[in-house]
Symmetry: C2
Subunit: 107 residues, 2 copies
DNA sequence: GAAACTAGTTTGTATTGCAAACTAGTTTTG
DNA sequence: CAAAACTAGTTTGCAATACAAACTAGTTTC
């Protein structure tokens, strides 16, 4: 029998903030750009506004992103930027996933 | 800019039954053995009994495992076995994860 | 200046995940 | 041999989500 115990703890220790698919999607987008606007984020994720708003608030509370409020002309525009902590958390999450994935799918 | 959209949908389409860490841990163990007893499962996952019970019930409702009730002497013993559907779901989940992971961590 | 639109937030609800408390029986002990 | 303690698991109650509908605040159009 192979050693599955370490994998198990890797699984159970996954960062729940990042693990939620909606938030993982958000972080994935933010990690690929300097800054991302609310509406762009909404469109490419397909999340509802309310949902997106609360997930970004949760990510901000976790210190994983920063919210930038500005105006384009007179219209308010909210943008997000991933923080260093956010980037670190995303990388750590990726590392955890790699650790728990079996070496190869059946060929 | 690279194509992040497909990854996004892979993320948002993750199977939530499997995605929950406790259940992923359970399926991972079941996939590695013929049959696994309740208490063994509880010990190696570290889940509480109640928690383990409800997660296995959810996995059973999803058709991902079968529950086998038996007696050892006069003591009841509950075991679980992954089903073909369960194995397929786990493999599909692994595949989805591989699809969304960036090619390599920074070397 | 009323109606419709933009950009997001708050609120309400339904679903979870979790462990404490419970059930049903078995073994041990006074 | 009955009370206490243990085994094996389930049910219940609660706190935390995730989600979208309804709302807020302002702007543009008609």
């Amino acid at each position: 029998m192979s050693t599955i115990k370490p994998d198990l703890h890797a699984i159970l220790d996954l960062d729940r903030i990042v693990h939620e698919p909606a938030r993982l999607a958000i972080l994935t987008v933010l990690a690929a750009a300097e800054a991302v606007e609310f509406l762009f984020l909404q469109r490419i994720t397909g999340l509802s506004k309310g949902n997106l708003s609360s997930h970004t608030q949760k990510l901000e509370a976790a210190g994983f992103l920063e919210t930038l409020k500005a105006f384009r002309g007179r219209i308010p525009v909210t943008s997000f930027q991933i923080t260093e902590d956010g980037r670190a958390a995303l990388h750590a999450y990726h590392k955890q996933l790699r650790a728990l994935l079996p070496k190869e799918g059946k060929p």
